[in-house]
């Protein structure tokens, strides 16, 4: 069997039908309300596969469900009895987008680097991943900038490319090859003409992105502590603490563990999805919260997604799927964030002077006070805002109120989601 083959479109359902007999088939399906979700497909005839739209939530929930029971406990005659609930699943995903597939590979690393998470791995180990490369990126996709799409060069079991009347199928990992070999009668070898066609399509798709996002600059500014405090304040004010960004993100993996009693003598230990933008995420017993202000939590979120992941995994953990961009209540998403970091003047003496001017204008600071703070700042190297607050010359709220008017919202006219009727 060669490394690339052709599947005529009329054979797609037949091929999927065969697979679905052997394992759970999961694919993006448009439901009768018009929403596209990853669904377990029990019959390939009854569904409308939707390979054009990014499903509302990422495939993550199939490996790390929003609520997952780890074990049951029961107290009997003073003793505890435990019963583990370990999943064991054979699955195949068809129609993953490249970014989502890449994200699964990222989670694979996270869930076995220090500690092998059996709950995750038992769901993952016998899962086959088939992506369909994106010929038409959606409006807010930026996988090209994130280097995780629109087509992959590795990591998939099979990668499909839509050539109009047929799919060009690249064989990646061994399990993909097994599938093709087992039902080889649906496939024919690819010709050079097919290959050329596919190559053109990949090139064309790459040229279609509306969103180009400069990860490198953002990460380096972040690492060099060049991001202005005022930017964090603004993002903190705009975040509404819904948790949505983490819940829909294909690579966010934080969870919380809780014991849930069912009755007085038994219960379950469950893990539930969690989000770092929530106050409860970092609050310590006793009530102290090292990241009390939302701005600190937002900062932490982007820190984890960008510099932290860069250092640890040599790439940001953002795969550019664009989900957070569409759903955030206040545009505290990856695209807006990176743009703000890249476009705003660097934190420098010049930025300090600008802040000083704004505060003088707003009548919140005396010229004398500014002079003292600037002198001090030269020694401490702290941002001017911090210096002023520490010296009791102004409150954070006052700075924010002065800046709020000056900075406004970033200049992107399009809204996130669909504007309602």
């Amino acid at each position: 069997m060669p490394d690339d083959v052709i599947l005529n479109k009329e054979h797609l359902k037949s091929f999927l039908r065969k697979i679905a007999k052997e394992r759970e088939l999961i694919a993006p399906v448009k439901n009768r309300h018009g929403d596209t979700l990853f669904e377990v497909v029990s019959s390939v005839d009854d569904v409308t596969f939707d390979l054009e739209t990014r499903p509302v939530v990422s495939p993550k929930s199939f490996f790390l469900p929003p609520t997952e029971t780890l074990f049951h406990y029961q107290r009997k005659e003073g003793k505890y009895l435990f019963k583990e609930v370990l999943p064991k699943l054979s699955r195949v995903f068809f129609g993953l987008r490249s970014c989502d597939l890449w994200a699964i590979l990222f989670l694979d690393v996270v869930f076995q680097e220090d500690f092998k998470d059996l709950y995750y791995l038992n769901r993952r180990q016998d899962t086959i991943l088939i992506n369909v490369g994106c010929r038409e990126p959606m409006k807010n996709c930026f996988c090209k900038s994130a280097k995780s799409g629109p087509f992959l060069t590795q990591g998939y079991d099979l990668q499909f490319t839509d050539l109009g009347d047929r799919f060009f199928v690249e064989i990646g990992r061994p399990r993909g090859r097994e599938l093709v070999e087992k039902w080889d009668y649906f496939f024919r070898p690819a010709t050079n003409k097919d290959r050329d066609e596919q190559y053109e399509i990949v090139l064309e798709a790459e040229s279609k992105f509306e969103r180009i996002v400069d990860f490198d600059t953002a990460i380096s500014r972040f690492m060099n502590n060049e991001v202005d405090d005022a930017l964090w304040e603004e993002l903190g004010d705009r975040c509404q603490g819904c948790g949505g960004c983490a819940y829909v993100c294909p690579t966010c993996y934080c969870f919380d563990m809780v014991d849930r009693p069912i009755s007085d003598s038994e219960g379950e230990r469950v893990r539930i999805h969690d989000a770092c933008t929530l106050a409860g995420f970092t609050r310590l017993a006793g009530g102290h919260n090292p990241r009390h202000e939302r701005s600190r939590r937002v900062r932490r979120r982007f820190y984890h997604k960008l510099p932290f992941a860069q250092e640890r995994y040599h790439r940001p953990s953002c795969v550019g799927c664009g989900r957070c961009v569409e759903i955030c209540f206040g545009r505290v998403d990856m695209i807006h964030f990176i743009r703000m970091v890249c476009e705003r003047p660097e934190k420098s003496s010049q930025a300090s002077l600008r802040l000083g001017e704004i505060l003088l204008d707003a009548g919140l600071l005396s010229a004398e006070g500014l002079k003292i703070a600037l002198e001090k700042q030269a020694g401490t190297g702290k941002p001017l805002g911090t210096q002023l607050v520490e010296d009791g010359l102004i409150t954070t709220e006052e700075i924010v109120s002065a800046l709020g008017l000056q900075l406004g919202m970033p200049g992107t006219p399009e809204t996130g989601g669909v504007i309602g009727r």
Partner: protein, 677 residues
């Protein structure tokens, strides 16, 4: 695993979401992306709130009080007892000695049935629900001015308004999805004016932020209108053609002294002038308001002042232009629409109208009571022949949500008979003689009407927990035991009856709600597409009416003994009396305990540090809770949310109401603070 599309059970934004069901349990939610309000995301409550559905405290069987304790009973025993005791009281003292509380949390169909049960079976007009505590001034005030007491426009129109004035609504916390549309508008260059005694989050994005003292809304609104009048920024043509009583109103305004504004409300006239110009000078402007406007003894005056201002500038009757009272509960709009109010039948049809009453009597095949009904607050305060002796409460928790809780709880304890149907043993249910376990939103079919008048489906995802039953079935069962059988095979059949009797719901049928995202009332017939914005071409009442409003100070203001203003409200992570949200891990973790917000300067004077325990005392009682220092509240003002049973804010509030509509003044009273060592 399967997924069921339904409507969120928390706030009235009305997000649609999929409940994910595995082995008969709800294990997750997915927001709908196509839904015009959810747009692929939910607030923290929407994402996590479903957890209460399977909480171990859910009521799983009926309870009857025996020897002072609530013990397990069968449905038959419980329902028989309720039927018998209610009948007894009715025979001895008449229908008006019974009271019924319906619920903004239950479906339209359930509210309709309970309202019908009260009037047709118990023969009382004493039926009310929590709208009394939140938007009764809106129903009456906007009713007086425009002819309809609901949001004039749909939510998504906000994104295209040129100026948005938000007052008395902490929109980012209480109506997150509506705030999202405000952010959309800002990104398109719209202007935002925020007027609120607390520096709410939205104020940070306001082009103009004004901070009035508590309870001085009529003053700044009149001031703003006077400026508009003086500067000729009014819409003459609109006023002439579409409104009445303007001459008297403008005379009234001319006499208003602008000097008063700063003295009473603390807002500088020049700032108000900027706001007036900003609001009046564009074509499309919307006013968004909520409890901060309504929960005052002058709530109706506040609402009518807002209506006056919208009419003065011609800011009604068009797309993206109007007045938006934001309703709180998921279906409080629907509960009002269904006539769970003492004075109106479904669709705001007056019970005093002979013809209307006939229509209902003919369909229901029984006589309807004539005696005017009591409000929710009134039911707890009556004496003599106004005394309510027996009550049926569905899904409400007055023992937490009513003002002056000591008095309320005394009244609950003094009832001869109380039946409560709810999903948890709430503070109110603990007073009951019979407790009926109800099914939650995930366990039943029905419809909710969101704040924008959008009627949407609620779909059953799992079977009722334990032996619980949906409220509509409970009411049918009870009614049958009181010689008035109600046979409905499903909520869809109930909606058919609603459509028949309620002109604004005349075209609402379940099959029409299956496709698209619900229908906006008024929707008078099957072919009607629904009405996203009201008053197109002319006001529902014909001409919009200006009313002359004068300022009345709050009932209780600080003095030497009680030197602080107390204002109460809600916070993002919790829901009303906390019976649901405090049982959700992510929500209770977010805000685990009660707190009082104090300005740091006041705290310093009191010698109180962040997280210190503080005792807050009013003339009604005292509570102790943690201090939370923040500049968001002005000096001499503290804020407490009413979610926490261990420190209920409503121990402190007073029960004096707006005389016309009976809304208590939750937003202002006077308290004293001291640190507790």
């Amino acid at each position: 695993m399967h997924r069921v599309l339904t409507t969120c059970c928390f706030c009235a934004c009305g997000c649609n979401l999929y409940l994910e069901v595995k082995n008969g349990k709800v294990v997750g939610v997915i927001p709908s992306r196509q839904h015009p309000i959810a747009r692929g995301n939910l607030c923290l409550k929407g994402w996590n709130g479903f957890e209460f559905v399977h909480h171990k405290d859910r009521l799983k069987y009926p309870l009857i009080r025996k020897n002072g304790r609530l013990v397990e009973a069968t449905w038959n025993e419980a329902l028989e007892l309720v039927a018998q005791r209610l009948s007894q009281i009715k025979e001895r003292h008449g229908g008006q000695s019974l009271g019924v509380l319906s619920s903004g949390k239950c479906s339209n169909e359930e509210n309709y049935l309970l309202m019908k049960f009260a009037r047709a079976v118990l023969k009382t007009n004493n039926v009310d629900h929590c709208a009394r505590l939140c938007h009764s001034p809106t129903v009456v005030g906007l009713g007086n001015a425009f002819g309809s007491g609901a949001m004039t426009n749909s939510i998504s129109e906000l994104a295209r308004a040129k100026v948005i004035l938000v007052t008395g609504s902490n929109t980012t916390e209480q109506h997150p999805q509506i705030a999202r549309f405000i952010f959309d508008a800002l990104a398109r260059g719209s202007k935002l004016i925020v007027v609120d005694p607390r520096r709410i989050r939205l104020s940070k994005f306001a082009h103009i932020y004004l901070q009035p003292r508590l309870g001085t809304d009529v003053i700044w609104l009149n001031g703003m209108m006077k400026i508009i009048l003086d500067e000729g920024l009014l819409d003459d043509a609109f006023i002439k053609m579409r409104t009445e009583n303007f001459r008297a109103f403008s005379e009234h305004l001319r006499k208003f002294d602008l000097e008063q504004v700063e003295a009473v409300s603390g807002i500088a006239v020049e700032d108000l002038r900027r706001a007036a110009r900003m609001y009046a000078s564009v074509k499309r402007a919307m006013i968004i308001y909520s409890m901060g406007i309504t929960q005052h003894i002058c709530g109706t005056d506040n609402v009518q002042s807002i209506a006056n201002m919208a009419m003065l500038t011609g800011h009604v009757e068009q797309e993206c232009t109007g007045v938006g009272p934001l309703r709180g509960q998921n279906n409080v709009q629907g509960a009002c629409d269904m006539g769970a109010l003492p004075g109106t039948l479904p669709g705001y049809q007056s019970i005093a109208d002979e013809g209307i009453r006939r229509k209902f009597e003919k369909t229901w095949k029984t006589d309807l009571p004539l005696a005017p009904g009591l409000t929710e607050i009134g039911m707890f305060h009556g004496t003599g022949d106004k005394k309510v002796r027996g009550m049926f409460i569905m899904g409400e928790n007055p023992a937490m949500s009513h003002p002056d809780l000591r008095a309320t709880r005394r009244a609950l304890a003094a009832l001869e008979f109380l039946a409560v149907s709810d999903i948890f043993l709430t503070e109110t249910a603990q007073f009951a003689d019979v407790v009926l376990p109800a099914a939650s939103f995930a366990e039943k079919d029905g419809t909710f009407t969101s704040t924008e008048r959008r009627i949407q489906r609620v779909r059953k995802a799992i079977s009722p927990i334990g032996k619980s039953n949906p409220d509509w079935q409970i009411i049918c069962e009870l009614s049958a035991r009181m010689n008035y059988p109600m046979h409905y095979e499903s909520p869809a059949e109930i909606m058919e009856e609603i459509a028949l009797l309620t002109p604004i719901y005349g075209g609402i049928y379940y099959d029409r709600l299956e496709h698209g995202w619900g229908l906006f009332w008024p929707c008078p017939n099957r072919d009607h597409p629904g009405t996203p914005f009201l008053h197109k071409g002319s006001f529902v009442r014909g001409k919009g009416r200006f009313d002359c409003i004068s300022y009345r100070p709050p009932e209780e203001t600080p003095d030497d003994q009680y030197p602080f203003y107390l204002t109460t409200g809600r916070i993002y992570a919790h829901w009303h009396t906390g019976s649901m949200s405090r049982r959700v891990t992510a929500l209770s973790r977010e805000r685990p305990e009660a707190f009082v917000e104090i300005n740091p300067r006041d705290a310093k004077r009191l010698g109180v540090a962040n997280r210190d325990t503080v005792r807050v005392t009013s003339r009604r009682g005292e509570i102790t809770l943690k201090a939370r220092l923040t500049d968001d509240v002005p000096e001499k003002t503290v804020f407490i949310s009413f979610h926490f049973a261990e420190a209920p804010a409503n121990i402190l509030t007073h029960d004096r109401c707006d005389p016309g509509v009976g809304i208590p003044e939750f937003k202002v009273c006077a308290v004293r603070l001291e640190g507790v060592k």
